[in-house]
Symmetry: C2
C-alpha cells in the first residue's frame, strides 16, 4: 500500500502560460512552481504542414477510421541531438523555444485530428467527414533520458493538472465527443520519438472500444442497478490474487481476462467520471500509482519495457453517469526476448490469445520493485 | 479481370487420408491428384504437450479472451534445417512423417483451443471455461521457400478443398460455434515458423469482430431488406476507384475505410455463406484471386511483405442468412522501411489511424504485377 499523500498548499496555485509557435500552433507551459517566466519565442520560420485528415465510416464494423496521409512524412526516430521535444539550443531549435521547461503541451505538427468546420458527406454506404478534433503532445520532462515512472510527485501532479486543463478545454469545442490522454513508449509499439511524452486526442466521436465498455455498463446498470466498474473493482479486491498495488483512493490490478502479457488497470475506488472530478490529493495519488505500475513493468523485464498507458474518462456528452475513471496500461513484452504480436486471431477475428497467466503476471509485478517511484515518494 | 476457369473433372475426386502422429494428434493428407499413398509413420516418440488453455470473459468489453500459458514454450523461429513443417528427413523428423506431401492438416502441438468436455464456471463477474475447440495447422506446400501466392491453381484448389473439409468437420463438434481459416505471414506480425502454412481455429463462441459485422448486417437487413455485404460490393463496383482485381464470381477491393496501409477484401459476388457453398469453379476462383491479391502485396513493397489473410465464413448456428463469404487480407507495411503499429489510439481506444489513402493503395496494387500467379494461371 502506498502511503496517503499530504495536502500541499502551493499545489493549488495555477501556473499556466500560453504562446504561439512559428507556424501558428499553440504551446502551453505548465510549471511545477509559480513565478516562472517563458520569454523565448519560436524563431524557426516553419510553415504549417499541409494535410486534411478525414474520418471514414466502416459500414461493416460500424466504426470510424482516421485517414491521415500527411502523417507518412512525420519525424521518424531522429538522433538525440535532433530531438524536437528537447529544449531549444542554438544547434537544435525545437518545438519548445525555451532552454528548459517542466511540462509543455502543444498541437502535434503532424496531427491525426485538426480544428475544422467541414461537414459529413455520404454516398450511400460510404460516409466521410473531416477529422475534426485535436492531436496534442504533452512533454513530461525536459530530460530526454527520463521516463514517466521516474518523475517526482510534484512533476506527476503538474502532469495531472495539465491533463485536466486539456480535457476541460477540448471538451468545450463543439465537435469534440471524447478526450483521450495516453502515452506510447518504445519502438516496439511504434513510437517515433523517444523523449518522454504523451498525447491528448480529442475525437469527434466516442471511440468504439470506450463505447463498448460503456454499453456493457449501461446493460449492467439496467440489470442490477449498480456500477459495473465499481463491482469489478470490488471483485478484484475480494479475490486479491491479481491486485498489484494500492493507494487509499485507487487500486491497480491485472484484470481477470487481460489481452496482453503485462496488463494492469488502475480503478478509482469511488465512482468518479473524470480526472477533473478528483481532489488534488486523489489526482496526485492517481499519477503516483500510474508511475508505480509503469516502474513495475520495468522491473518485470529488462528495461525499458514498451507500453501503452491510457486514461479512460467519461465522454463529453453521453454515458456520464455510467463512466468510471480508470487507466489501462499494457505491454506486448512476453519474455526478455519475445513480444506478443497481434496476428489473425486478434486482428481479423478479435480474439486475443494471452500466453501468460494473469495471476502469475500479478505475482511478478507485485515483486518488481519500483525503486525510482519509491524514492520519489520519499521526496514528498 | 482474371479469365473464367475451366471445369476439370479430376478435381472432383476425393483424395484425403488420415493417420496419427506419435503423440496421438491427427494428420490428414489432401493430395492434388488421386492414387498417392502415405505409408510412413511418425517415429519420434514425442509426448503430448501438457497445457489446459482456458477462456475468460472480460466483463467490461463483454468478450472472451484465450489464456494459453503453455504456448510460451512453442517453437520459435527454428533454422531451416530444423523446420517442423518440412517433410521428414533422417536428421529432421518433423510433424509430417513422409518425404513429400501436397497439403497436410494436423492439430497444433501447442494449441490455443483443445478438445475438452469441461464446463463454464463463474464467480459473479469473473467467468471462465475450458478453451474448447480446435487449433489446426495447414501446410500449403512441402517447399519451405514457397508462398501461397506462388502456388499453381491445382494446389490452390486442394487447399480450398482442405479448408472446406475442416470447416464441415469442425462445425459438427458440439462446442464449436465458429471455424476460422487464416494465414499469418512474416516475422513482422509475429510468425514463429516461416514454412508456408495457415491455421484453422474452431472457437466455442462467435468471435467479437465477426459478430459485430453480422450485427451490422442484421440491422441493415431490418432497415432495408437487403444484404449489407452485397450492397457494399455493389457500391465498390459502381465507384471502381478501389477495385484491385476481379474474377467472374469474386471482386477484390481496398475497402472504403481500411485500417491498414495495404488492405484488400475479396467478396463473393453472389450471396453465399461459406466456402462449402461454392461450386468447384467458384472455389478455385476464390483461391486464385487470394493468390493474386497476395502477389500484389509482394509487388507493392520489397517482398516478402508481411500479411494476415482470413476467410470470414458464417457461424455454425447463428446469422447464417446474413453471412456473406469474404476474405480480408492486410499488411502493416506502410513503406519499404516502415511498419504501421497499433498504439494508444488503436489498442486502447479502438480508433485506427491509416497513413495511406485507400484510393492510392488501390492504384499501387492494381499496377503491382502478380507475375507468379499469372504464370500459374497459364498452367491451367
Amino acid at each position: 500500500m502506498i502511503e496517503p499523500l499530504k495536502e500541499s498548499s502551493e499545489a493549488e496555485t495555477p501556473t499556466r502560460s500560453t504562446s504561439r509557435l512559428a507556424d501558428g500552433r499553440t504551446l502551453t507551459h505548465f510549471d511545477d512552481l509559480p513565478g516562472r517566466r517563458h520569454p523565448a519565442s519560436d524563431t524557426r520560420g516553419i510553415l504549417p504542414v499541409l494535410g486534411s485528415p478525414q474520418i471514414r465510416h466502416d459500414p461493416i464494423l460500424d466504426e470510424w477510421v482516421i485517414i491521415a496521409s500527411h502523417r507518412q512524412e512525420r519525424t521518424h526516430l531522429p538522433s538525440v541531438d535532433k530531438c524536437p521535444l528537447c529544449p531549444s539550443t542554438r544547434g537544435n531549435p525545437t518545438e519548445i523555444p525555451d532552454d528548459d521547461y517542466d511540462v509543455v503541451v502543444f498541437d502535434n505538427r503532424f496531427p491525426s485530428l485538426v480544428v475544422d468546420s467541414g461537414r459529413l458527406s455520404t454516398d450511400g454506404l460510404l460516409a466521410q467527414a473531416p477529422a475534426t478534433g485535436a492531436s496534442e503532445v504533452i512533454c513530461f520532462s525536459s530530460d530526454h533520458g527520463s521516463s514517466f515512472s521516474e518523475l517526482p510527485p510534484r512533476r506527476l501532479r503538474t502532469i495531472g493538472r495539465a491533463l485536466i486543463d486539456r480535457t476541460v478545454a477540448l471538451s468545450q469545442r463543439s465537435a469534440v465527443e471524447y478526450v483521450f490522454c495516453f502515452e506510447n513508449r518504445g519502438e516496439e509499439i511504434g513510437v517515433t520519438l523517444h523523449h518522454p511524452h504523451g498525447q491528448i486526442y480529442a475525437y469527434p466521436f466516442v471511440p468504439p472500444r470506450v463505447r463498448r465498455g460503456l454499453d456493457s455498463a449501461s446493460r449492467y446498470r439496467e440489470r442490477t442497478g449498480g456500477c459495473l466498474f465499481c463491482d469489478v473493482c470490488d471483485a478484484e479486491l475480494a479475490d486479491r490474487r491479481r491486485v498489484v498495488s494500492e493507494t487509499p483512493n485507487f487500486v491497480a490490478f491485472v484484470p481477470w481476462a487481460p489481452r496482453w502479457p503485462l496488463e494492469v488497470h488502475i480503478y478509482a475506488r469511488r465512482h468518479v467520471a473524470d480526472l477533473s472530478d478528483l481532489s488534488s490529493v486523489e489526482l496526485e495519488e492517481a499519477m503516483v500509482l500510474q508511475a508505480d505500475v509503469l516502474a513495475r513493468f520495468d522491473g518485470a523485464f529488462p528495461p525499458p519495457v514498451p507500453y501503452i498507458a491510457a486514461w479512460l474518462q467519461a465522454p463529453v456528452a453521453t454515458h456520464r453517469s455510467e463512466s468510471h475513471l480508470r487507466l489501462e496500461a499494457f505491454s506486448p513484452r512476453r519474455s526478455a526476448q519475445k513480444l506478443k504480436f497481434l496476428a489473425g486471431s486478434e486482428s481479423a477475428a478479435g480474439v486475443f490469445i494471452n500466453d501468460v497467466m494473469p495471476e502469475r503476471a500479478a505475482e511478478v509485478l507485485r515483486k518488481a520493485k519500483p525503486a525510482a517511484t519509491r524514492l520519489a515518494m520519499e521526496e514528498t
